[in-house]
């Protein structure tokens, strides 16, 4: 069994109350940070650990923190992105439910590192229960002096505010989230300026994912070198993989970065359900290009998955067996992005719905010979042409599905029917 980082103390249990968390050594890393380390030292340690953002893009966390300008009069903010909305992803939820105080501890350390005295925790509206859990955790942390004025008599102050979103996927994009937090429509912002310079309310802001921040106390506790040694070079630590689909044991597994996808599916998730044949895997949430059964020996770290043309993304592993119709799966994904496009940029606003409409026809047995080329062409025009990556997220699956399962799509177009088995021959 590999070493656990985030789920270490909560493998089979929950530490919802602060007393339980304190019993397993909770808030000790914070004590060490606040009383012994300067903020720059914390940033350096996280940089050294090689921790990369767990939200999906994999940007080095320490570097993100170091972008916060030092000598500005404006307040600085830490914003926690708990708007976990990528289809196939449910890892942050596990952290919040099982170990909310680990997240709180990470929040205080992160805020201290960037010089923030105010933190907003933005959680998706559908996570009502999880919001209750966090609300309680915040309350307890205040009661025990881990939040509020003069934390652990270090002279450092921090307030944390919980904010529930209203259910838009786009508010998980960091600048869309900031807009939403400011009470506006969740339209991602044009960059530059980047949030580190002009973020929430025009002030320097760091936006970090839940899993990223929950990892930080462990790095401070055990050291950067320990953390880095868990993964592969440039991909330090572990990752929470949320495995779903046609497997025997769907669930969230914490595993070291670089573990082969095959091992995740067949060792940890218990292999294919009913011994059906594996057909395809989405490795990191619905926006990631799909992998075929031949590609599952890929190492699950940011760089290895990118090298074969997909993304590690948010760690949502969706496993599909031979009976899954790829047209139908892609249509489902396309529907999601058409519904969630904010409508700001032309290619995404128009392209997502156009893709969906064509795929609907193909799925319904009304495909036309040129449809597949059109889908590819539309997707091509959507990639890299918009303010935020939602357009890419909608287009990349289309491209990869059609490239890798073209015969299946052609069968739909020409035979006006779905016959997955025939294509699989």
């Amino acid at each position: 069994m590999p070493e656990l980082v985030v789920l270490r103390d909560v493998q089979d249990s929950e530490l919802r109350h602060i007393e339980d968390y304190l019993k397993v050594g909770g808030y000790q890393a914070l004590k060490k940070v606040l009383l012994e380390l300067k903020p720059e030292q914390v940033v350096d340690e996280v940089k050294k650990s090689g921790l990369r953002g767990r939200g999906g893009a994999g940007f080095p966390t320490g570097m993100k923190w170091s972008f916060i300008p030092k000598n500005v009069d404006k307040p600085k903010y830490l914003v926690v992105n708990a708007d976990e909305s990528e289809p196939g992803t449910c890892k942050d939820r596990v952290i919040i439910e099982r170990n909310p105080h680990l997240l709180m501890e990470g929040i205080v350390i992160g805020s201290y590192a960037i010089g923030a005295h105010c933190c907003y925790l933005y959680i998706r509206g559908e996570y009502y229960e999880q919001a209750q859990i966090l609300s309680l955790a915040i309350e307890e942390a205040y009661q025990h002096g881990f939040l509020g004025k003069n934390i652990l008599r270090s002279g450092y102050d921090l307030d944390v505010h919980l904010h529930r979103g209203a259910g838009a996927y786009i508010c998980g994009e960091e600048t869309g989230l900031l807009e939403s937090l400011e009470g506006k429509k969740g339209w991602p912002r044009l960059k530059p300026p980047f949030p580190a310079v002009v973020g929430l309310y025009g002030c320097p802001t760091v936006i970090n994912n839940v899993e990223t921040l929950a990892t930080v106390p462990r790095i401070m506790e055990r050291g950067a070198d320990w953390f880095a040694s868990l993964g592969t070079p440039k991909n330090g630590g572990t990752r929470l993989f949320a495995v779903s689909g046609h497997v025997n044991k769907p669930g969230t597994y914490e595993l070291p970065l670089g573990i082969p996808l095959r091992e995740i599916i067949f060792n940890y998730a218990g292999g294919m359900k009913d011994d059906k044949v594996l057909k395809a895997v989405i490795p990191g949430g619905s926006s990631c290009p799909i992998l075929t059964a031949d590609e599952i020996d890929v190492k699950m770290d940011f760089d290895s998955v990118a090298a074969i043309g997909s993304m590690l993304g948010s760690g949502g592993v969706v496993v599909m067996n031979e009976e899954a119709c790829m047209v139908k799966v892609l249509l489902r994904i396309a529907k999601f992005y058409a519904h969630e496009s904010c409508g700001q940029c032309t290619p995404c606003r128009e392209g997502t719905t156009w893709l969906k409409n064509i795929l609907q026809r193909v799925n319904d047995g009304q495909g036309r010979p040129k449809d597949l080329d059109h889908l590819m062409g539309i997707a091509f025009n959507m990639i890299g042409t918009t303010i935020c990556p939602l357009s890419d997220a909608a287009a990349l699956p289309v491209r990869s599905f059609i490239q890798k399962f073209r015969k299946e799509f052609e069968y739909h177009v020409h035979q006006k029917a779905c016959d997955v088995a025939q294509v699989m021959v």
Binding site: C342, G343, T346, R349, E350, T386
Partner: protein, 541 residues
């Protein structure tokens, strides 16, 4: 001052310049919909994508600031493909109803399709149905099917008019421009959203279906609606006289002037042109005989006016004649009035100031409380040492017999109120009215001479800041009407003076020599955007 190259052309620009601005200086066209220099950057239409060397992704030219050594390409195959792709996206749900769209001919979907599109349509789905032809305010009509959601209008009401009437509602391809609950697009600058709308989504109720834009001629002019002197273009239809009931001036559009009005004009000014082709225009000269108007030739009536003027001067004397000019007249008109009545005839009772009983108010943007375009010029040209004040005369109970009153564009009935105006007019034996439109004062006059409107003449106005700006002739003077300076010149000739100005420029030449505020100013130097005279602002407050 970074130096960059765009399409192999090099240019040095100030810090903070964006690629789109630098390209404009090089005359390289980068297509854009959401970008407007008068509004904040939205960066969402994605038409201005360019390639910048060493940056892997396309960059929006509107939001990318230039840096030293930057190498930009706007015409590579990659960029062309991206731009034509964006255009295709914009058009898939567009109704393509150009034949019935007012914007046709000045629509940037048409324009850019021809320049950057020219692809074969791949759209084979049903288009999204949306709200059509919705009246959203007194001047503007909205067709959301034609809308490309560039958000210019939304930014305008938020950033320029600060009136916040409209917004983008819903999400994704269901996004639509809508009025905010309980609001209508009703502010004094609402017409500007039609100008900045790059497509036919927002059209002008006033101009709607009146004339195709390709029949319009543009003439640079100045709005006569208030003392701001906003720069405008008069759009007139000289090719299709049977359109729009024979109206010649079809609409006014703002004309950029960084010193005066930027890109905007107010609705009061924009829609204040109707008097030019109104049935109330006085197109023929006439005299009143036995209570009935008798239309005669212009020369006959001017001859009659000359006789009346001579009679008054000879029988009673100079102080029996009063001239009321108008701050709506051009500097040239006013100068000829001053020269003939003041200098040649030696009259001292010349003024243009009538105490307006219905004072308008201005706003904190463009509209000024003084609704006259040339008060400043009238002060400079007419007010001198003589010290005559019409207000005193108006408020006095006059015992002495006044002989002749000559009114230029002065509807005293409106400004003074009916009772006061009638009382004043009755003190005169004879009233001459020179003006462009009929009103309650003109019908009381004994002799009426038709003058041209600002759209039918050329000359200059001086705005409240002392900026001298030029108006140009858009259409021919209606009927027998003539510019006021020509009418006065003819009158002077009738009395034996030699007035043979060829055009307004000649009048201005003499004005510049004779009136200190205009000294050293040459007509051709005024150009399209005017010249500010610092001296004039010190003359009068």
């Amino acid at each position: 001052m970074p130096t960059l190259t765009i399409n192999q052309k090099s240019i040095t620009v100030p810090d903070g310049t964006t690629i789109i601005q630098a390209a404009e200086k090089l005359d390289i066209e980068i297509p854009r919909y959401c970008y407007h220099p008068g509004l904040s950057i939205a960066g969402s239409c994605r038409m201005c994508l360019v390639e910048v060397e060493k940056i892997p992704k396309f960059q929006p030219a509107c939001n990318t600031r230039v840096s030293e050594g930057m190498v930009v390409h706007t015409n590579t195959e990659k960029v062309k493909e991206a731009v034509s792709g964006v255009l295709e996206f914009l058009l898939i749900n567009h109704p393509l109803d150009c034949p019935v769209c007012d914007q046709a001919g000045e629509c940037y979907l048409q324009e850019y399709y021809m320049k950057f599109g020219l692809y074969d349509s791949r759209m084979d789905e049903n288009k999204i149905k949306r709200h059509k032809a919705e009246i959203i305010g007194p001047h503007v009509i909205l067709d959301t099917e034609r809308c490309i959601l560039c958000s210019r209008c939304v930014r305008f009401v938020n950033e320029v008019s600060h009136s916040h009437e409209i917004g983008i509602f819903n999400r994704g391809s269901q996004s639509e421009i809508r009025l905010l609950p309980g609001k209508i697009l009703d502010n004094n600058y609402s017409g500007n959203v039609v100008d900045i709308c790059p497509v036919g989504a927002l059209t002008d109720r006033d101009f709607r279906f009146q004339c195709r834009v390709w029949y319009l001629s543009e003439t640079k002019s100045i709005c006569p609606g208030c003392s701001r002197g906003c720069n405008i273009s008069i759009h007139s239809n000289r090719q299709r006289p049977h359109h729009a009931g024979g109206r010649r001036v079809m609409r006014l559009k703002p004309r950029f002037n960084a010193e005066v009005n930027h890109w905007w004009i107010c609705d009061e000014g924009r829609y204040g042109y109707k008097f030019i082709d109104d049935p109330s225009r006085i197109s023929l000269a006439r005299v009143k005989e036995k209570g009935e108007f008798l239309v005669l030739t212009l020369d006959q009536v001017i001859g009659r006016a000359g006789e009346k003027l001579r009679e008054a001067l000879e029988k009673v004397g100079r102080d029996s004649v009063v001239v009321v000019a108008s701050p709506r007249l051009t500097n040239e008109d006013l100068f000829v009035i001053r020269k003939f009545f003041g200098e040649d005839l030696g009259l001292s009772q010349i003024d243009f100031r009538v105490p307006d009983q219905n004072l308008a108010s201005g706003d904190d943007f463009l509209l000024r409380a003084d609704r006259n375009p040339n008060s400043r010029g009238a002060e400079a040209v007419l007010l001198d040492e003589n010290g005559f004040d019409l207000t005193q005369l108006l408020s006095m109970e006059n015992s002495r017999k006044l002989q002749l009153l000559c009114l230029f564009e002065q509807d005293l009935t409106k400004t003074l109120g009916e009772a006061w105006a009638k009382k004043f007019l009755q003190q005169f034996e004879y009233v001459i009215y020179v003006g462009s439109n009929e009103n309650e004062t003109s019908v009381l006059s004994h002799l009426t001479l038709p003058s041209a409107t600002y759209a039918e003449t050329e000359g200059t106005f001086t705005n409240f800041e002392g900026r001298v700006q030029k108006i140009n002739q858009a259409v021919e003077p209606l009927g027998d009407s003539l510019p006021t300076w020509q009418i006065v010149s003819k009158l002077a000739c009738a009395l034996g003076y030699r007035y043979n100005y060829e055009n307004a420029e000649e009048v201005f030449g003499e004005l510049a020599e004779r009136v200190v505020e205009f000294q050293d100013l040459a007509y051709e130097k005024i150009g399209d955007s005017g010249v500010e005279i610092p001296d004039i602002s010190k003359v009068q407050v």
